[in-house]
C-alpha cells in the first residue's frame, strides 16, 4: 500500500522535475514524460481503489516539523474517501493530459505547461493523501501555486497574469482562515494528526464544543477561498484566462473540490456542530443560486461553465453541510466527469474558432463539429440532471436529503437552481450548436478537432452516462457502501424533522429540468419572446446580472483601493514626513545654530584684537566684582 501511494504521489513530481529542470532535450515531445507519469499515478490509484480496506491505513514517512509537542509527520492517510478522490483526480488528469497534447500543440511554453500540470497533480495528490492538517495545508497552498502558474501561463497577456495574481491572493485569504483553523485544532487537541483528533472527538464529543465551532468555521473559511464559494468566488471566472484544459482539470474537477473533500474528511468535527453545518449548507445554497443567475446572462462559454461549476460546488456544500457527506462526494465524483467533459468540449470549440468565445458570434456548429456537439449535449443533459445520466442521481439525492431533513427553504433554492442550470446550459447549446450561424467568417473556418482531443471527449461522455449508476439506490448503493467505511455513521446527525420522501420528489426535479430546457428552446431557438426584448424590459435587473452584481468593482474600490490609499498616505505621511522629518529636522537645527556662531568669527583681524581688549575688561571687572585682591 505504501509503495502504491508513494508511487502515485511522486511519479508526477518526477515528471514535473524532468520536464521543468532537465526538459531541454524533450522540447517538442515534452508531453511523453508527463503523460506517462500521470498514467502510472492513475494505475496506482486504481490499484489502491481496489485494495482499500475497512480500516484507514496510516503511514508515516518522516517527521517534518519536530518542535516541542507540535510534531508534524510527513505521512499518508489512506481510506476509501482518499481512494475515490485519487481515482477521480488521476483519471481526469490523465484525460486532460492526453487532450492537452492536441490543444497545446505548437505553444512555445509547451514544456513549461506540462511541468506545471504534473506539479499540480503531485500537489493535489499530496493534499488528498496527507495524514494531518498541516501537510494538508502544504498541498492546499501548493495547489494554489500551481493554479497561479497555470492561470498566468500566457503571462504576456496582462489580463492573464492579473487573473493569476488575483487567484493566488484570494486563495491566500482563504488559506489564512485555514491556518487559524489548524492552530485552533492544535490548541485544543495538542496534535494535528487526523487519527488522534478524530479519536479524541469520537471518545468525548461534548467536551470540545466551543473550540470545535471555531475550528470548523475557520476551516470552512479556507474551503470558501479554495472552492470559490461566496464571497471568495471572484477569482474563478477570471481564472478562465488560462488554457482550457487547465480550467477543465483544475477549475472543474479537482482543485475546487478540495474544499468539499476537506469538509468531508473532517466530517466528525462538522457532525458535532450541526449549526455550523447549516451555515455551510446555506452558504452553499446561496452561492449556487447566485452563480446560476449570473450564468444565465453571460455570453462567454467558459465564463458560463465557470459559474455553473461554482453553482454545482454550492450543491456539494449543501450536501456535506447537512450531513450527507457521501451524497456530496458522489456529486463531486459525477460532476468531475461531466463538467470536465463540458470544459474540454468548450476547449475544442475554442480550438476550432481560434479563440473566439462569444456565443453571440456562433450558431449552427452541430453540422461542422458532430463529435464535440454530441459530447457537449450529453454533458449538458447530465448536468441538468435528466434520469439516465449521472447528474440526475447525485443532484437528486442532495435535493431529496435537503427535503428529508426538513430544510424546506434550502430545498426550494436547490430546485430553483436546478431549473436555472438546465435553462442556461441549453441556452448555451441552442446559441452555439443550433440555429443559424451568426458569424460567417468563423463558421467557414470551422473544423472538427483531431482524434487526440475527441477520444477523451467520448470517454468522458461515457463516464458522464455510466458514473451515476454506481449510486442507484441511495444508502444501499455500491458507492455508498464503499464510502461507508470512511465517512462512518451516515445517520450521525439526527435532524429534528424526518419526512418521508415520496416518488413525487423525483418527478418534480425531472420536471423542473425539462421546464428549463423548454424555456431555453423557446427563447433562443424560436425567439418567440425575443431575449433582447426581454433584456430591455428587465432593465436594471438584467444589467445587474450582466455586470456580475458589480462585485469585482466593489472589491477593487473598497478592499484594494482603501489599502492602496492608506499605504500611500502612510508612506508619505508617516515614513517621509514624521519619522524622516524628525531625524532630518534635528540635523537641520544643529546646522542652523552652527551657522549663527560662524558669522561671529568674521575673519577681520583687528576685530579679534578688539574682542581681546573687551575680554580683558570683563576679566578685570569680574575680578573686581569678586572682591578683588586679598
Amino acid at each position: 500500500m505504501l509503495w502504491a501511494a508513494s508511487l502515485a504521489l511522486f511519479a508526477p513530481l518526477l515528471g514535473a522535475i524532468l520536464n521543468g529542470v532537465f526538459g531541454h532535450p524533450f522540447r517538442e515531445k515534452a508531453h511523453w514524460p508527463a503523460v506517462i507519469a500521470v498514467g502510472i499515478s492513475m494505475l496506482a490509484s486504481w490499484w489502491i481503489l481496489g485494495r482499500v480496506g475497512f480500516e484507514p491505513v496510516v503511514l508515516d514517512l518522516y517527521t517534518w516539523i519536530p518542535v516541542a509537542n507540535f510534531v508534524v509527520p510527513f505521512g499518508f492517510y489512506i481510506d476509501s474517501l482518499t481512494a475515490v478522490m485519487m481515482g477521480v483526480v488521476t483519471t481526469v488528469s490523465f484525460l486532460v493530459h492526453v487532450y492537452s497534447i492536441g490543444y497545446m500543440h505548437g505553444d512555445p511554453g509547451y514544456r513549461r505547461y506540462f511541468a506545471y500540470l504534473n506539479l499540480f497533480v503531485f500537489s493535489m495528490l499530496l493534499l488528498v493523501l496527507a495524514n494531518n492538517y498541516a501537510l494538508l495545508f502544504v498541498g492546499w497552498e501548493a495547489v494554489g501555486l500551481c493554479s497561479y502558474l497555470l492561470i498566468g501561463f500566457w503571462y504576456e497577456k496582462k489580463s492573464a497574469s492579473d487573473a493569476g495574481k488575483k487567484a493566488f491572493i484570494v486563495n491566500r485569504i482563504g488559506d489564512a482562515g485555514f491556518l487559524l483553523g489548524i492552530f485552533t485544532l492544535f490548541a485544543t487537541f495538542g496534535s494535528v494528526r487526523y487519527d488522534t483528533v478524530f479519536q479524541m472527538v469520537a471518545s468525548n464529543p461534548h467536551l470540545y464544543q466551543g473550540a470545535l465551532v471555531a475550528a470548523t468555521l475557520f476551516l470552512f473559511l479556507g474551503a470558501v477561498g479554495k472552492s470559490a464559494q461566496f464571497p471568495l468566488y471572484v477569482w474563478l471566472p477570471d481564472a478562465m484566462e488560462g488554457p482550457t484544459p487547465v480550467s477543465a482539470l483544475i477549475h472543474a474537477a479537482t482543485m475546487v473540490t478540495a474544499g468539499v473533500y476537506m469538509v468531508a474528511r473532517s466530517h466528525l468535527l462538522y457532525s458535532e456542530v450541526p449549526q455550523v453545518g447549516q451555515l455551510v449548507a446555506s452558504v452553499g445554497a446561496f452561492t449556487a443560486l447566485f452563480a446560476a443567475t449570473m450564468a444565465m446572462v453571460n455570453d462567454d462559454i467558459k465564463r458560463v461553465l465557470a459559474y455553473s461549476t461554482i453553482s454545482q460546488l454550492g450543491y456539494m456544500f449543501v450536501a456535506v453541510g447537512l450531513g450527507a457527506y457521501t451524497a456530496g462526494i458522489f456529486h463531486l465524483y459525477t460532476h468531475a466527469f461531466f463538467k470536465g467533459l463540458l470544459f474540454l468540449a468548450a476547449g475544442s470549440v475554442m480550438h476550432a474558432t481560434h479563440g473566439e468565445l462569444n456565443m453571440q458570434k456562433m450558431g449552427g456548429f452541430f453540422r461542422k463539429m458532430p463529435h464535440t456537439a454530441w459530447t457537449f449535449l450529453i454533458g449538458a443533459l447530465a448536468l441538468s440532471g435528466l434520469p439516465p445520466l449521472a447528474g440526475f442521481f447525485s443532484k437528486d439525492e442532495i435535493i431529496k436529503h435537503a427535503y428529508v431533513t426538513g430544510h424546506t427553504f434550502i430545498w426550494a433554492v436547490a430546485v430553483l437552481t436546478a431549473l436555472l442550470t438546465a435553462f442556461y446550459m441549453f441556452r448555451l447549446i441552442f446559441l452555439v450548436f443550433f440555429g443559424k450561424p451568426r458569424d460567417a467568417e468563423i463558421y467557414a473556418h470551422l473544423h472538427e478537432s483531431p482524434p487526440v482531443m475527441t477520444v477523451p471527449l467520448w470517454i468522458l461522455a461515457a463516464a458522464s452516462v455510466g458514473a451515476g449508476w454506481v449510486g442507484i439506490g441511495e444508502e444501499h448503493s455500491v458507492f455508498h457502501r464503499f464510502l461507508e467505511t470512511a465517512l462512518g455513521e451516515f445517520h450521525l446527525v439526527e435532524w429534528t424533522v424526518h419526512r418521508p420522501a415520496g416518488v413525487g420528489l423525483i418527478a418534480l426535479s425531472v420536471g423542473v429540468a425539462l421546464l428549463g430546457i423548454l424555456l431555453a428552446y423557446s427563447l433562443y431557438l424560436l425567439r418567440k419572446p425575443d431575449p433582447a426584448l426581454l433584456a430591455r424590459r428587465a432593465g436594471f435587473l438584467y444589467t445587474l446580472l450582466k455586470r456580475k452584481y458589480y462585485v469585482d468593482e466593489i472589491y477593487n474600490l473598497f478592499v484594494v483601493g482603501t489599502l492602496r490609499v492608506t499605504a500611500k498616505v502612510l508612506f508619505w505621511g508617516v515614513d517621509r514626513a514624521l519619522v524622516d522629518g524628525t531625524v532630518n529636522g534635528t540635523g537641520w537645527t544643529l546646522a542652523a545654530t552652527g551657522s549663527v556662531f560662524r558669522r561671529w568669527s568674521s575673519g577681520f583681524l583687528r576685530s579679534y584684537l578688539l574682542w581681546i581688549l573687551i575680554g580683558a575688561n570683563f576679566l578685570v571687572w569680574f575680578l573686581l566684582r569678586s572682591g578683588g585682591g586679598h
Binding site: R606, L610, L613, A616, N617, V620, L623, L624, G628, G629
Partner: protein, 162 residues
C-alpha cells in the same frame, strides 16, 4: 629727587603718545626710544640700577635699533591715514579707557602698601634669587630665546623658488 620722576614720567608719556599718533616710521621708532630711555631711568630711580641699565642696553640699545634697521631695509614709507577711526577705532578707544578706569578702581580697591624708602639695591640679592629659587624659569627663558632666534631666521630666510 621726586621731580626727576615726574620728568621721566612725562617723557615716557610723550614717547607713548608719539608712538600712538606718529605716522612716519622712523620718527615713531625714535619716540619709542625716548619712552624706553625714560622707563630705564625710572627703573634706576626706583632703586633697580641693574634693571635700568639692562633695559637701556636691551630695549634702547638693541630693539629700537632692530626696528630702525628693519625700517631702513624695507624702506617703509609714511602711510598717511593708517589710523582706523571708524567704529572699531572708536570702540578701541572706549574700551582702552574703560580698561584704564577699571584697573584704577581695582587699584583703589586694593591699594598697594607704600614701602619704606627703596635701598639702591646692588645686583647681589637679585642674582642670588635668580640662580637659586628661579633657576628653572631662567633656563626656560633661555630656551625660549633660542627658539625665537631660530624662528626669526627660518621666517625670514629667502626660500628658493617663488
Amino acid at each position: 629727587m621726586i621731580y626727576f620722576f615726574w620728568l621721566f614720567a612725562l617723557l615716557a608719556l610723550i614717547g607713548a603718545l608719539g608712538v600712538l599718533l606718529e605716522t612716519h616710521p622712523v620718527r615713531g621708532a625714535l619716540y619709542l626710544l625716548l619712552a624706553f630711555l625714560s622707563i630705564g631711568f625710572l627703573y634706576i630711580l626706583a632703586g633697580a640700577p641693574f634693571l635700568g641699565f639692562v633695559q637701556i642696553i636691551v630695549y634702547a640699545g638693541a630693539v629700537v635699533v632692530l626696528f630702525l634697521v628693519a625700517i631702513a631695509v624695507m624702506s617703509l614709507r609714511r602711510i598717511p591715514d593708517d589710523r582706523d577711526l571708524g567704529p572699531r577705532g572708536f570702540l578701541a578707544l572706549v574700551f582702552a579707557g574703560a580698561f584704564f578706569l577699571v584697573m584704577l578702581a581695582l587699584l583703589r580697591h586694593a591699594p598697594v602698601p607704600a614701602a619704606p624708602t627703596p635701598t639702591p639695591g646692588a645686583p647681589q640679592p637679585l642674582a642670588e634669587a635668580l640662580f637659586r629659587q628661579y633657576l628653572i624659569p631662567f633656563e626656560i627663558v633661555s630656551v625660549l630665546l633660542l627658539v625665537a632666534i631660530v624662528g626669526a631666521i627660518v621666517l625670514v630666510r629667502r626660500r628658493p623658488g617663488p
